[in-house]
Symmetry: D2
Subunit: 346 residues, 4 copies
């Protein structure tokens, strides 16, 4: 922590800050500048609360140098964390797995048709919400337990790993019975009770970045999961709120190399929510892989025009198959490979 | 709902859209323009899902005309909702109540000293968190149940109404035993499970606007509470995330007249989180009252320099007393009055 | 400037940074912390370019402590600057002048009618664009020189001071022949050539904050004008770009107390552009005065429904008159007074 | 244009809107819905000013269906515009040219060394500012005319095309004597006088997106250039202002496919300003090519640690050479090719 004194701060004020720092158990180190004096803390650690000195006379600003996050940082663990959600479905290594499926589980026919199309094109995991966070209480909220049963069925039929969203404690335990990876949605990124719950459940977690979350916020939310003893967190960039409504969200692909610099956790990209428009999904999925994404999660629906939610951003099975073909080429160009391979017919 | 066709859309494409609208049970009304044709839905209601037609050939854009929210709207209920959280503490009428207190309940001495200072200066409700949502899992998380007991004690001692935050289902039920009004924090504004829970508990709810929530998002979140049968929702503007870090948040006071135009619910302002700097709290509280706020919620701590959280934005009791004095003058200038009056000594 | 070393930076890397700082002519002051070492510069001044050390091995981050602006800062000049644009029209003192008028000068009848309405209600300055920056090249671009002549006529008729926008060098010289105060619009806030030009012309300048400008950016743009020898700059908050399109812009009233803390320059508020909706103008003008604004600039048109631009946010003369009445009450409540008084009939 | 009536608007109010539309010369088409009536304009064109009806009694909202831009739109011209700035340097076709060089021209040695490194690695155009828009008036502002002479020298020595920024009318004419392509910087994107000037000069223009510009704003600014008779505009995405300061800007790569859908103009990406961090430039340049960018513009300096501006985001010649190698692979994976090939030695 660094305490920047106001221009013209008196010696007495600087001494006051030094005394306060000593009272907190640290050593103050005043550093006079041409314009201002700065006082550093020697021996500071993560728990220093700057607000204790922020309002002393003559203090202009407090600057925090230490990160608040710890276990998620590269400094804590230099090697990448490899998260395996099911046999052969591994995030953070050379392989780039693709998770695909509908926004919501709608019916047995729909989820089975989806799962077969994912499998046929070479996807390795099925997404699909049984519990849906919707802005309006009057929108379709998901099939609930029935949806989970259908996901379990789709898994048995196709062998795909299952990724599904949990919205609350009870739902998290229910989802954990079926899912290989629990998704925490953007709206719940700072629902700390839920983060602790999935930390304790210990299944792999796919943590989506909130709509206006900084990367530090995202890492701190991941820290909640790790601090409960669950190291298997996959981060997910899915677009930020923006002033330009041409796209649904502002897809921040730079987050990928930034996260990789700061953290050892894998990060995947969701171009469906990131763009909100079906015809932008494929180019932006390519871009995500080129930027270094450790996986792609994408919405696909056998009949998007009949989807109960997010139809406008869902690919058709044919478009998904073409996406996979293009991603394989881009992955190869950056010395990686898309996990899995197309199998049989849909 | 309006379907805007692309420039150059063919008659066949327009017919296709009309057919799809008919299949959904509505009457299509094509409207040729110089550049484009637009097709309207006659008889549409809130449940139309635009994505069903958004991707038909020749469709450029879907425009929604109906609001998604219903019970919270002025159109649903033209008269203002008056929310009474305790005798004489009423939001939405001529009175402007001030809620004040520390960020967190820290100790018996601290909360009693706070409550007495609030009461002395004329505040009518005490705020203070027993459960604290903190970005870092290593920050102080609140005293929990012990904090609630201390709030109950402060209420008995001073008669102030109690406003405190609930972070999850279990906490909401605990808080409801003590609180006169349950606060839902900005980070949980779209925690729909929690919104439904406080909807069912039926205590008054103070719902804070999320960091990147549109006003429509805020109203839809309130709709979740109302749709469970709880009409007593007080909205709260507390600042948005912004690119300018000079202030902690970007305090959107225009939200006050905007909400009043769209909804019958009362709206209060939180200049402490809205600005994040103690010396900006008083001018912005004045501005909020001048803009038409139905109440003010403000952080005050008997010893901000020792606060365990948010010290930098907490007023001292003296500053709070001065704030109240200034707010009374501004309220009068807009034909309202600050609820309560200063009593005895602090 | 402070150089934050990475966690685990070696002694050699820290020494390398110290050497680089010495080579730049400053004294390095290493400050070991529990997590990281920070190296301060003693004797630094505003010209240090952090990028010279930012990329040395082991450097994690550069933190600038000095402000880049100088003459506009409170530290440079503790007393408020009072800018007088015409006799009795003074910004930065106790008086709060109101500038009003149409978005664009459209005709002799329109501008004279506007000016008389402004004068009648107690406004002291007339706004109106002769040169209009419009997003589309096909929108009305203003009457040009003819518009300036009409403004001069309105001034002769009513005695109001004239505020009008300059968009380029040539226009700035033309406007200066007529205007008492040259406006630089939000889109040109970082048009440094134009800022230098108006700095040299030496007429008072009303500098609007750009759509995504930080307060530091705004102050640095003002510094361009002052650095050319023109101290008469009035800053103007007019709303920022935001993700919520309910309002045209996000009106950042906190900028008012923030600017007053950092700078000695006066700051006015423009609730017309700040909100973009006629019915939000009056409450937000009140809020601006309550927050401490040194003036208000507002759009008023004798017939908004026929305005060639910005009709939806223009007040009618009657609404303007009511606005003035309300502002007088709020100004009094914050120990200030609205400049001028209503005269005769419109 | 569509006029949405308020819920509960009376027949008289709807008739009033219809009359107003007729008075404007169009045919009104009322469309009753379950909640609200919407009135469409048949035969509307781009010039309808919605504010004329926006404030009539009973009107809730105006929705514009037509775009304001015209000549830049895909609807105006379905085939891509190919902009050739010099022989073999062509934007908008299969080739993806790379423009590289220092932020500012600093000296003969620096710019020649830069140009040779660009050429050696296979770049086809040299960037470098002679006139620099800097936030602070005290920062290095460029060498001016001397800088232009040095660019001309570098062109003679290496054959590279020259791209350089113009900040005002006089500078635009000076730059045009030397440059193959005039750059308009982000801060001047809405400097309409300058846009008209470069429209009349008729040299190719590289137009950078403003910090908070929507894609529609960008296209409208391009329309200013085209409307003066200059069709040779290359758009450039260079990052938006964001709340997360981890990166300098928020690089909006989705703008690439979005622009390609709306406009026939080519679009390039600037990962140097887009990220602001040297180590993020290469992954994000790869991502831009994968997203479909028609070119890359990147900062490279022979000695970034001595650069007078933007050192922290400049690649070294070796890093640039590696960037080119990687881009060639990604371009091939999306069926394009990087223009030019590495030649001789640096």
């Amino acid at each position: 922590m660094l305490v920047v004194m106001a221009h013209g701060a008196t010696k007495k004020e600087i001494d006051g800050v030094c005394e306060a720092i000593k009272a907190m158990g640290y050593t103050p180190l005043p550093m006079p500048g041409a314009q201002r004096t700065t006082v550093g803390l020697v021996g500071n650690d993560r728990r220093v609360d700057g607000s204790l000195v922020a309002e002393l006379p003559g203090v202009a600003q407090i600057i925090h140098v230490s990160n608040q996050y710890k276990q998620v940082s590269r400094e804590w663990r230099p090697d990448p964390t490899i998260v395996t959600i099911a046999p052969g479905v591994t995030f953070g290594g050379e392989d780039v797995p693709v998770i695909a499926g509908p926004c919501s589980v709608e019916s047995e026919a729909q989820i089975l048709e989806s799962a077969r199309a994912v499998r046929a094109a070479g996807g390795v995991a099925l997404r699909g919400g049984a519990f849906k966070p919707r802005s309006s209480p009057y929108s379709f909220q998901g099939l609930g337990r029935k949806g989970l049963e259908l996901l379990a069925l789709a898994k048995r039929e196709t062998g795909l790993a299952i990724v599904t969203e949990a919205m609350d404690d009870e739902g998290a335990h229910l989802c954990a019975e079926v899912a290989d990876c629990l998704q925490i949605g953007a709206r719940n990124m700072q629902n700390y009770s839920l983060l602790k719950t999935v930390g304790r459940i210990k299944k792999p977690v796919l943590l989506k970045r909130g709509m206006a979350a900084t990367i530090e916020d995202l890492l701190l939310s991941a820290e909640y999961v790790l601090s409960e003893g669950n190291p298997n967190v996959i981060l997910c960039e899915r677009g930020l709120r923006s002033f330009d409504t041409t796209s649904r969200n502002l897809f921040d692909l730079t987050a990928i190399p930034v996260v990789k610099g700061l953290s050892h956790l894998p990060i995947v990209a969701d171009p469906s929510h990131g763009t909100g428009r079906r015809d932008k999904v494929t180019p932006m999925a390519r871009a995500a892989v080129a930027a270094g994404a450790d996986g792609i999660i994408v919405e696909m629906h056998p009949h998007p025009e009949r989807a109960l939610s997010d139809g406008a951003q869902s690919l058709t099975p044919d478009q998904f198959s073409e996406l996979m073909r293009q991603l394989r080429r881009v992955a190869e160009a950056v010395d990686r490979s898309i996990a899995g391979s197309p199998v049989g017919v849909a």
